[in-house]
Amino acid sequence: MSTGDVVISVRGVEKSFGDQHVLKGVDIDIMRGESLVIIGPSGCGKSVLLRHLIGLHHPDRGSIRINGSDIAKMKRSELYGVRKKFGMLFQNSALFDSLTVGENVTIGLQEHFKLSAEELRKTALMQLELVGMASAIDKKPSELSGGMRKRASLARALAMDPEIILYDEPTTGLDPITADVINVLIRSLQERFHATSITVTHDMVSAYKVADRIAMLHNGRIIYDGGVADVKSTDNEYVKQFIRGEAEGPIRTV
């Protein structure tokens, strides 16, 4: 799967919000075509790290290189050029309330390419079929269930044919069966399109299902990085406590 070249390189990234030091020096490389899952306790900064990768946050220190270019030093127009290579599934789906599902899916295409209404609708249908949502094309997001919103948001993330897909807590708030539908979908899209995908989650069932590699973020740093089988047999006390979901251990959440 991995072709060995680094598509995203994160070096010494630090980020604070007020007096809260969230990222304290994150270092990680993400290879082209791999599926990396970043795990960690709630509030440890996983989503903040993910948002740095697409330039929604800028690091206080350190660098984030996408295909060798540091996104923190880019002009706005260059950053938008890089963002076109990304697709992102947000934690709460973040569908646009005022648009239909079909319009949500094709908004990026409509803004960046000159396509007719017919072409846009055809593309929306095609993308929605991929996630099993074609019948909802004319519905408003408010008419959808949580799982359907995630799937519609996934169709939107895929519409611009991204090289890199970011998933922010893709299964949070879903029942186990719907969560598995999303996991299977993420995995099948990964195998079908060979996009690089980065998922942040604290759901270990989801992590095992979609990951080629798992990294753990704790206390603002990546404290573990390894394959799925390695994670299951690791001696790292932090990882062991987290994947077993135990209150007792080195990680203190309260």
Partner: protein, 261 residues
Amino acid sequence: MRERVANIGMGAVRAVSELGELTLLIGQIFRVLPRLHKTVRLTVVQMFEMGVGSLPLVVVTSFFTGGVAAVQAAYQFQSWIPDRFVGSVVGRSVLIELGPVLTGLVVGGRVGASIAAELGTMKVTEQIDALEALAIDSIRYLVLPRFVAGAIMIPVVTVFADALAIVGGWLAAVGSIGMTTQTFTSGLHLFFEMGDVWSGLIKSLVFGMIIATMGCYYGLQTEGGAEGVGKAATRAVVSSCLLILISDYILAEFLFSWIFA
């Protein structure tokens, strides 16, 4: 005592920081202005919402304001000043002051709150981040259409408001004060100057830009959930009303001392 001084200092820092952010937003609006052609459809939607949507409110406000202006002018004139000057007072006060300012305040309350609440909700539900993630400039897509629609539609609505207020004044003059239509219209013509119309429209253009900018600014600054959205809407309305009144004075000084002097 020390705490009080610290609080004053913090307040001053916050005010300067907000002013800086607001200036940045205005700079960003002018940065994306050349790409207005890409947001024509969205701008038209906003124009309809701000203009047509505000008309019922403006009709009632301006109609009765014109009536009140006529009745109070007649009361203050008593028998010392001829009735025909009621028309002059209604015409000039409506065109220069009452039309643009009341329209600005009334539409500012409605539109400013609506913009701040809509953008605030989009902000807290990550919809604005989603736009940015799709490489869509949120300032061009969300702020520019509202800014341009405000700048165009508040003057348009003000024209309606001016006309309706004068009709309201005329009806009150005829129905309540007992003047003839001819007396009222002759007064209206007596001191009429085109500069009054222009000054009112220039004011309303500035008010439109203030309303849209403050709505967008507080909407984009929203943090937290429903409480944050509510606060954003309130701040947008309060700040745009204050700025309308302050800028009204500054514009009056500028327009009548320099432009239409």
